[in-house]
Symmetry: C2
Subunit: 345 residues, 2 copies
Amino acid sequence: MSKKVSIKDIAQTVGVSTALVSYVLNNKEKEARVGKEIAQVIRDTAVKMGYQPNQIAKSLKTGKSYTFGLIVADISNPFFGNLARNIEDEAKKFNYTVIFASSDENAKKSQNLINILTERQVDGFIIAPAENSQDQIEAILKNNIPLVLIDRYFKDLGTNCVVTNNYEASYQAVSHLIEAGKTNIGMVAYQTDLAHMLDRKQGYIDAIKDSKQLKAKIPLVKMVDFNAGQEEVEAGIREFFAQNPTIDALFFATNTLTLKGLKSLNKLNYKVPDDVAIVCFDESEAFDFFYSPLTYIEQPLLEMGKKAVQILIKNISEKKSANMQVSIASKLIIRQSSAATVKKN
Amino acid sequence: MSKKVSIKDIAQTVGVSTALVSYVLNNKEKEARVGKEIAQVIRDTAVKMGYQPNQIAKSLKTGKSYTFGLIVADISNPFFGNLARNIEDEAKKFNYTVIFASSDENAKKSQNLINILTERQVDGFIIAPAENSQDQIEAILKNNIPLVLIDRYFKDLGTNCVVTNNYEASYQAVSHLIEAGKTNIGMVAYQTDLAHMLDRKQGYIDAIKDSKQLKAKIPLVKMVDFNAGQEEVEAGIREFFAQNPTIDALFFATNTLTLKGLKSLNKLNYKVPDDVAIVCFDESEAFDFFYSPLTYIEQPLLEMGKKAVQILIKNISEKKSANMQVSIASKLIIRQSSAATVKKN
DNA sequence: ATTTTTATGTTAATCGATTAAGCATATCTT
DNA sequence: AAGATATGCTTAATCGATTAACATAAAAAT
């Protein structure tokens, strides 16, 4: 390492104290009443010597790292990748940098990541919490580290969170299927207690129950494990149809489930939308290429990312947890996969 | 912030010096000849008080941040998201943490990110360099900060890099199209001087020229701007066909180009593979759902990510740049979109 | 000619660790 | 018994900044 230039080096070259250099380079000349000429000399010398402040030293002294930790389930999932990108961009506006980490929906990993990031003195966390990570979240709060949950949240924890209107969006999506004439709508969801998933489920259930059109108002939900691979999902769907042969529409709870589900339907030779209509939560580049373009719920990832950062920054600067629960509306994008049933005679 | 527990707090509680605490908590009891009993007391107290080392302070003293910077074009692009994930996992094995940033193929942004990360004292960089960022890379090298380029590289810079065999993979892919009976194979590529793209182009060109089968050995390459949206790509492809009406196969240079290209082909009503056969570099979840599943070049993202981290760690620990150029072979996945032409009569 | 201001700088403590060097005691050697 | 060795712990400098408190010379005021 070709020894980096420090404030001390500049001070020596110019022939002043390090204090002066610090004041000037932090634009505190006014408060510190630094002479105009010497200030200019210091600035010029800093540039000439290629000075780059040591953010680590700065952080140690000021207690602010200008970094936050982003913990998602899996950064390679485009849903989180997109979210991460929006968070990154917004964070940059406030001179913040983001350390990311993937928890794989695993509470143990999650705890480990939180520890690592805490040791690194992140100024705050943005977390899409894994199941059973409630204690961890509470611990962060107790340590007074600013925190915003994103995508998921815990009902009985009054933490900051930014989510979409899971219940309403699901309700609307399912209602749309009902209006399209579907009479046996099943839902495929992840087996989890995470509130956002329960909300989506409840939205589905209530839409079914509230329906004036449906004769059989019996919700049919197929649960699949979070870490289920293609085979498990396929087996689940096969079973689902076996138990409920009259299903004529499926509502998928996430993009990953949808992708595996569609592959399963292809294999099982179900035609969309004639045999089964489809609506799904989240989007995917792939949905545009399915032979019957998918109707999906588009989440406001840009707004969610932005908002999460803004709340976090606010919390950091005001150092009291304002506890904002923000819900941003999703949008149902209607396409072919949920086309109205044509009456056959 | 409920004041964090420091080594000093532990020292006071136990009634020893901070040095002793430091030695014990860093498992240097042997070297420092710390008494067995007191060591245990220190350890217990640390746990009881919930001590978490301040990594920032540690970094300042030791000069190692156990962090590296990952700069890619766009973390929301699944290609980079996947790479990032693999890098994250491998880094974790060495107790490293990753700060990520997206350069948007923009040299100015890239320089800005490099500065920010340098100030944060990252121990090393993994970069998928943007066009015209050669100087920046050289500057990092001159500063003796360990660096590994990934995905892309610069021909005349002897830096560490981990890439796939772009030339050979393209050559093989195009040869496959030729064998499948295609006679007018066009390539759609990004307009850039980045070596990996030139390699892909050259692979295409040479495969055409070396062919024994082809009558017209004239390479046809359509260039598209890096930041081209759907419309520009569509216009480009329309033009491409207008100028070369006999094109019966297209080789796309990246996943993003492919996605836009396929949408364009759909709009222009070309059928795959009958009107145009398709092969593309990179993969995408979407490729599985195209009506004619795509033949594509699968890059070894896991190996690339791992290798990049390993080289970086090695460079960091040995503090001399070994300069390894690693190329890992891609794999051609053949599916319907490049099916052999059936002779019509 | 003092005293007060004003203008400019410097000193030194501090953030939370690490670690070489030093200082007692105790235990061996021969 | 006297020096050598081992054991156990402390001191204090250091990493690269920030910043409150203090210092001093020149200009202005009285």
